[in-house]
């Protein structure tokens, strides 16, 4: 059973991902969070496996938040427009979704996230820390 957390301050944006998740095969528990505090709380309590994390969120940006998450969580960043972040993600092989996205793009990202979860969680987290470091240095 996979535990997924969808974090976005906008209800409709969260619902898009929840809707698409429900269409994917496999049994999942889906939770939602609308701000950084909420994310940290749910991460501590429910230990999700995969997080869809919006970059612009109340309280803290998704980038800052990702740096505080445990290494075993697979993070997929979601953003509307953020040149620098996207560059950093591409360089460090971090998964991301650009709003608005097609169903297929979501499915691809979802498959990759599951793969990462099975294989090398460690290297995924490394990529994220590198991307976060690159962005924070700017």
């Amino acid at each position: 059973m996979l535990k997924v957390l969808v974090a976005d301050d906008e209800r409709i944006a969260r619902e898009i991902i929840v809707l698409l998740l429900n269409e994917q095969a496999g049994y999942k528990v889906i939770q939602q969070a609308s701000d950084a505090q909420d994310v940290l709380y749910k991460v501590a309590n429910d230990q999700p496996d995969i997080i869809f994390l919006d970059i612009q969120m109340p309280g803290m940006t998704g980038i800052e938040l990702a740096a505080q998450l445990p290494a075993n969580i697979v993070v997929v960043f979601v953003t509307a427009y953020d040149e620098y972040a996207v560059q950093a993600f591409q360089l460090n092989a971090v998964d991301y979704l650009l709003k608005p996205f097609e169903d297929q793009q979501f499915v691809d990202v979802w498959q990759r996230a599951k793969q990462r979860l099975q294989n090398n969680k460690q290297s995924n987290h490394q990529g994220i820390s590198q991307a976060v470091a690159a962005l924070q240095n700017q």
Binding site: I12, I16, L19, M57, P58, K99, P100
Partner: protein
Amino acid sequence: MSLLRTYFKHWPSRLFWLSNLLFWLVLNTVASDNTNRLRLEYGRVSDFLSVWWDYLPWWGNWAIMAPIVIAGVKTIEYYAHALWLRVLYNLLFAVVCMTSYFTLTLLEVNYISHFGHFNPSAFTKGLMQIAYSPLHMDFLVYLSVASLGLTMNYYEKARQHALHNQTLANQLLKVELQTLKAQLSPHFLFNTLNSISGLVRLDEKSKAVTALSELSQMFRKVLENQSKQFTTLEEELAFVQRYLAIQKMRFEDKLLIETSVQTQSLQAAIPFMLLHTLVENAVQHGSQLESDHNLLKLDITIEDGMLNIELINQVAKHDKQHGFGIGLENCRKRLQYLFKHNYLLESAQTQEGKHRTLLRLPLGGMDA
């Protein structure tokens, strides 16, 4: 051919010709009067009119020579850039001009003094006399005319230069103003498109259509106002309302919007998308809060002949920017360009922990 064309391009204007003719005639009159008085003082037979006619070839010919010399000097300046070349050309030109001048003058003098007949021996004698005379008065006149030509040339060049600089400065200002003009933020655009895609997926068609329509109207306004700096408050408010409608759809209960506008202020001129930038800034801070029903209050009045816009919004306690983003910095620069110091843009935290932005603009836009 091109030399000749350049020469005639530097030909003085008609007004110059007229004043030039008058100048030399006056000089001829003054010189003849002076000579006439001196002759009479020394008891010689003299009358003003005959002296005037005697002098006319000498002074009057300068009325013909001066424009020729001036155009020539300017042409040399145009063609020759090296100093030695300019000096050389000027000397050659001076010799040609003076020879022509003396020839023409002596021919005329000869013609007048021999009562309409030409006497070759008197002409040759006159030429020889001039050739052997020390620095002649007419060389001094040539120098004055040539230096007048140079002065005119430099003056015109300097004026052209200043005009060119002014044009460049104006263009630069326009470009700077254009870049300072607010644009719809890509964040807003892509987030809205994402929300619309969500509404379609969730089968909330009428909401999706409304959001698309509001977004299109905003883009239409941006396109319409591309080359304009100012709009009316009424139009700007309509633009802001569309923006707020979209943001309310996205953030639902996050925002509590209150607007109060004095009817008289609706026709006031306001820089396009300036109010939008302030509101966008406020919305970003309000929507980034964790609480719901965050106040965004817009109060527009006319006070002391100024348009008064007050915007109150909630901010997070630990807001790093204190509600002051890069958008506001650009607003300030733009206002500075448009109104010099005749405006006010203040932004500060109130005692109730809210953020207050105050904008005061002169009525009547840029001309105020």
